[in-house]
Symmetry: C2
Subunit: 178 residues, 2 copies
DNA sequence: CGACGCTTGTTATGATATAACCATAACCAC
DNA sequence: GTGGTTATGGTTATATCATAACAAGCGTCG
């Protein structure tokens, strides 16, 4: 168990996760952090204390989380930093590819794919409007088509965003029962 | 005679979704406003003075524009309103479909398609990182595939968006020369 | 006319993000 | 180690994006 987590406090699993309906245990979180650390190491980047703290807050939930929410949660744990510091840590985590930015919500979530890290197949993001959970599914063929569509218009694509809002499997099932 | 190729006239290079960024005549702007007014009329919505003013600022450029930029430009012309009023006008314009929101920039741009306005095929947005111009190209087949990918993950899609950042045709050409 | 609904004004605040400048930490060549 | 170099983070201030709550105006239609 991480020394930064008090087991008695409000835990993050009021929101049901959607990629897998797993309860986020301290052990799983630690594994996720470990993977992130390895990504940083492999790229000769520094996984500093602040970056780890910020990453832990993001990875503690399967939902997306805003920068100021991270700020507040770190503040509750005694780490008080300025917004800009959060954003700098976020930038480093984004660059490393261990988190993603959800453009439609101006929020961030941990990347849980172990395969495609940065240069492989690109994912599209699925964000649940009910529980906030965010999942990724492969979208390489879709990104390819988007690139073709852009080039047909003589447009040179560089960055592409594909995001979907809707209901995750769990919330879909819940809605069908009602 | 095709209307997309006018080799003898001034604007020879006006093709697909990317006309010149800001070489817009008052006449063309007026036509765009007129089309917007018609959309409002057809839907029994009110194209009020404020909404028209906000729309004109958005349609005055082919780039995307932020809410506070609209606020400032209206202010320069003597129309001083509160941010909330701008956002309310924007909401009405979005609802009517005469402008779109660029999620990746938190900004807005005028819809210039005359065809799909109502419930036809959905477009993807192409935003130039150099000059800011935004264009739309049809993306219905892409949205269909995105829906399929979501459903494969047991996710129920409701809202989808596809945005691309890169270089528009003009800026691509300019970059190639350099 | 007057009731109703839509629109806008007014005031205040919340939420997201970055600029500018400086201090410190880590890294590295010598 | 010393000193140069770069990356990181602290501090302060500000820019930008967005909405809540309530009051007032205006359009229209019975």
């Amino acid at each position: 168990m991480s020394e930064t987590q008090a087991p008695s406090k409000a835990d993050a699993n009021q929101r049901s996760p959607f990629p897998n309906p797993d309860q986020q245990t301290a052990k799983k979180l630690a594994q996720t952090v470990e993977r992130a650390a390895k990504v940083f190491a492999d790229k000769s980047l520094r996984f500093t204390k602040l970056r780890q703290q910020v990453f832990e807050e993001i990875a503690a939930t399967h939902a997306s989380i805003g920068a100021y929410e991270i700020l507040a949660r770190l503040g509750e744990k005694g780490t008080r930093v300025a917004p800009i510091s959060i954003y700098r840590a976020i930038d480093a985590l984004l660059d490393a590819g261990v988190i993603h930015r959800l453009e439609s919500k101006n929020a961030f979530f941990a990347c849980r794919r172990t395969d495609h890290t940065v240069k492989g197949r690109r994912p599209i993001f699925l964000s649940c409007e009910k529980c906030g959970a965010v999942g990724e599914v492969d979208g390489q063929h879709i990104f390819d088509l988007i690139g073709e569509a852009a080039k047909e218009a003589k447009f040179t694509p560089r960055i592409k965003f594909v995001e979907v809002q809707g209901l995750c499997p769990r919330c879909t099932t819940a809605a069908e029962k009602a």
